[in-house]
Symmetry: C2
Subunit: 351 residues, 2 copies
């Protein structure tokens, strides 16, 4: 069945579109009262993510409010290590934790790629259900954490201010780190393949913590695994987007990675990003999410600045740009400002 709105996929192929497509990282989230209601019904964040009907419901919620150009699967970047046996749990206000973080070489050697249609079936069922419910209105994005970012949590056992444990492992025992990253990469490829098979029409890898690495460590411990995913993931013409927070130093390398799109945060202008990637890849981004705290007029003006910046760096053309934030939305953001943002993207970029 043909998509009713394929702007997002066309932009990722750098084809011409009637206006710039837009979706927002964490568009299904706590800033929406209906999300908070479903979350309460589910009893827990993980319960919601693991129940396909509830994951489908919250995925669709922002699309009922705003004319967004893509849906993104509601899930978590740590479903894969959870299926690998680490025991994911959430403490309110503290983020994700693992009951059994990796503590030794034996812990790493014991890891294997989970079976996607049994151990992660709830994710694939959610993808199938969302596709059915979307009924061709907009494409559905599937996603995974990046190998480095997943490994960060597996070694630390949760979030960290400075990722000292995982960085110590990387520099003290690079062979063990590469063994870990290798098996996680195998699992990520299998996970994204299964989401693709279940119906995901685009795929995004979140390397949320890649930007905390020095350039030489990034080139050793994150980039090669992103490139492996881009090269080995059989996905036909389904586009793959790599999002790295704080990745300005690596834009040229990411443009050569084999992925179709790169997500960019707001610490680099799209003008510069477009010039440095020279039409090799689509760019997604990059409004500072905090701009949503501005007044509606300020939001509109900031949106226009991002759209213009991309066009300037892309030789006067708006093609090849997916509008997004440079990072996810926060719970205290105003849904009315999201409506203003989406409206301004479409209005101002209309050809």
């Amino acid at each position: 069945m043909a998509l009713k709105n394929d702007r997002f996929l066309r932009a990722l192929r750098r084809e011409s579109v009637d206006c710039t497509p837009v979706w927002l990282m964490r568009q299904a989230g706590r800033y929406l009262p209906e999300y908070r209601a479903t979350r309460q019904q589910a009893g827990s964040f993980l319960g919601m993510a693991m129940t396909p009907e509830l994951a489908c419901e919250v995925t669709l919620q922002p699309l009922r409010r705003f004319p967004l150009d893509a849906a993104i699967l509601f899930s978590d970047i740590l479903t894969v290590p959870n299926a690998m046996g680490l025991g994911l749990y959430f403490v309110d206000g503290e983020g994700p934790k693992f009951e059994r973080p990796l503590r030794s070489q034996a812990d790493i050697d014991r890891l294997s790629v989970p079976d996607m249609e049994t151990e992660l079936r709830y994710v694939m069922d959610a993808v199938r259900l969302i596709r059915r419910e979307l009924d061709g209105s907009v494409p559905l994005i599937g996603f995974s954490g990046s190998p480095w970012t997943i490994a960060c949590y597996m070694v630390e056992g949760g979030g960290s201010k400075d990722w000292g444990k995982v960085k110590a492992l990387a520099i003290n025992d690079p062979a063990a780190m590469h063994t870990l990253l290798g098996v996680v990469t195998d699992a990520v490829i299998a996970y994204l393949s299964a989401q693709h098979a279940a119906g995901a029409q685009a795929l995004q890898v979140f390397d949320t913590w890649g930007g905390t690495l020095s350039p030489s460590m990034y080139r050793e411990f994150s980039l090669p695994y992103l490139t492996r995913i881009a090269h080995e993931l059989k996905r036909g013409d389904t586009p793959l987007i790599l999002f790295v927070k704080g990745n300005a130093a690596h834009l040229e390398a990411l443009a050569e990675s084999g992925a179709e799109g790169v997500g960019v945060d707001w610490t680099v202008t799209l003008d510069e990003a477009a010039r440095r990637t020279a039409g090799k890849i689509a760019l997604q981004g990059n409004l500072d999410p905090a701009m949503l705290y501005g007044s509606p007029d300020a939001v509109r003006s900031q949106v226009r600045a991002v759209l213009d910046s991309y066009r300037t760096g892309n030789g006067g053309s708006r093609d090849g740009h997916v509008f997004n934030l440079g990072h996810g939305m926060s719970p205290d953001m105003n849904p009315e400002h999201v409506a203003v943002l989406v409206d301004e993207v479409h209005r101002y970029s209309a050809r």
Copy 2:
């Protein structure tokens, strides 16, 4: 009186030195048991910072252990807004807070530059005492927060994940934001002048949160105030260093700011930073502090990589480099690894 060790000051003037000088951000800190003892004696962090004898004691502690090439005044970046009447306090594990954050234009209009030798006399007394105790062994660095970074806390009332309130003020009411930044800049200039008069032999401005701004907002709300400080601060041949976390996008502009040095975090190589600043300014940095969690051998190898990276970008010369971390030390770091780091910097860079 001539300094016994002037490597640090010579490096900031880009003069030749016998080996690369090194100091570490937050070298006086909780990773040292003797610091924790003094902290306990003081009863509170602020009590320690506001008592010249205790501030002097903790400033000197790391120099008794390690052959560091500079001392840095023990204080806090929020002493200035505290003296402006906002009521600084600390909650353990939560960072700094203000009792009376800025909530209105009237709050901003009420601000004035504090008198340095009365309201901030405890800082100047600490500087004088430390100079006396150092007895010319190494130079003493005075410091301040940057206008943008100080304003962040003044508007938010404490730390923030996304600095939504201060960014909203900046985009909703740029005139009010510039009024605030103007008076804070006046205060910072007076504060650094007074530290210089009291004996500080180098001055550093910490723009810790400048890197959370998009390039256009950085150029409007942070960079001009750093440049104003560099131009208006009467300091003779006392060097001024600007440290911005996440500042790689702005290296060229910072090199033209009028300051003598730029502190660089670890997300850009010193090779690139040196090439882009082309000998116009000294560079300080930039080992990822998490590397101190590595083994002694790994620490040594990472130190050599930073030293070599600078030399490569600086046309084969090590001159003009002050070795430092890319951010401050953490409480759980091992003092023995600091000894290894300092030793390797001096040993490997010896001419």
